[in-house]
Amino acid sequence: MKPPEFGYHRPASLPDALALLGANAGAKPLAGGQSLIPAMNFRLAAPAALVDLNQLTELSGITESADGGLAIGAMTRHSAVERSPLVRARAPLLSLAMPFIAHSQIRSRGTLGGSLAHADPAAELPAVMVALDARLTVESTRGTRVIPAGEFFTGLFATVLEPGELITRIEIPPAPPGSGAAFLELARRHGDYALVGVAVVVTLDAGRVGGARIVLFSVGEGPVRAGAAERALAGSAGDQAAIRAAAAAVQRDIDPPADIHASAAYRRQLASVLTGRALTSAFERAGSSGP
């Protein structure tokens, strides 16, 4: 399997990369290439040119922001995020999710920005970023804009990114005190696309649920915020009764697809089970103010 002929550019700086993307309408940015290159080899994708971002060291790295949150360069590899003690301390949900992303070989190459721009409905990171209320910095020759993750994903492999725009940075706000996170997914084999997955962040404020963000994936066209389940928790003590109510309510939040691996009804049931388990872990962690 070989891709059709394509042009290749390897800019040495971000302004050069943005200029190349702005000037070549048929060009696609190449980040880790873990989805784009297989699609090209299968000849499902045939971009006229690739703009290889792998020389842009300024887009890699994990730093602490002034507010105590994190700023992660879009070209940071999954493996670097997975191993980062800073991420584990400041954004435990992200650390918890990393081992579920494909296989270690893919994580050593794939990038945060690449996964978010690709917007696969079964991908872990879009759901994690929505749950963390992350902000994505997006740049082009026309300027810079900052987009909340909750507004970034618009459908099946679809985002608000316009032609020539590149994700350059992901900012994660600091976790409020008394918060706990959990991440769960089920796949037939480790590393397969998840049948259903869920990312949750809850906050306990004087023994009451002060906030809850529950985001599912692999149940629709993109990450799905479970509004009914979140409302079921609001004001409760985060006890088992409230968790059961939220786990039941999550079925109203989704309209999952069916495929050869699982029926829609099975995915719906699985979403409830995983949400219940994830909330139980998250509240335990919030109560002990651990990760």
């Binding site: 784009l36 699609a39 499902l44 994708a45 099946l156 492999f157 679809a158 066209e221 829609a264």
Partner: protein, 153 residues
């Protein structure tokens, strides 16, 4: 793959029937349809080009034969699509019922999808078909509203 559902059109059944079988409307409303022509009393042929996510532009030649017509109540479509990325073929049954001045359409399709597109994109077929159907029905509803409001016939 079974695709089924219900859609409510805000207009009388006769208008919906005419809309659904008008090749110009189909070309305008079905996602990715470049052109579609009536090549026989009950036969349509056309081309569709669809790009979703990493798939740039899958082009299909599509032939549709209408059978079992009972105007304005129901019909069956035999669908045969072929392209470089694979094929789809199957049968879709459409029925229309009057409901408080509106028209309730019930559709049920049994489609086989094969070739490269099915091998690589199997997990996405259900989501993609839901997405295309929703876009098509929304566009048809807008076209119906435009016609009922006195737009071009």
């Amino acid at each position: 793959m079974i695709v089924q559902g219900v859609h409510l059109f805000p207009g009388p059944r006769e208008a919906v029937w005419t809309l659904l079988l008008d090749p110009d409307v189909l070309a305008k409303t079905m996602p990715g349809t470049a052109k579609i022509t009536r090549t026989g009393p009950d036969r349509y042929e056309g081309t569709m080009a669809m790009g979703i996510g990493p798939i740039s532009a899958a082009t299909f030649d599509v032939a549709i034969v209408i059978t079992d017509q009972l105007e304005p109540e129901r019909y069956t479509m035999q669908i045969d699509g072929r392209g470089g990325f694979g094929f789809t073929r199957g049968i879709a049954a459409v029925s229309l019922a009057t409901e408080d001045g509106a028209t309730r359409m019930h559709y049920q399709a049994d489609l086989q999808v094969g070739g490269k597109i099915a091998a690589v994109g199997q997990r996405l077929l259900d989501s993609v078909s839901k997405l295309l159907l929703r876009q098509g029905l929304e566009a048809m509803t807008r076209e119906l509203e435009r016609r009922l409001a006195g737009g071009a016939a």
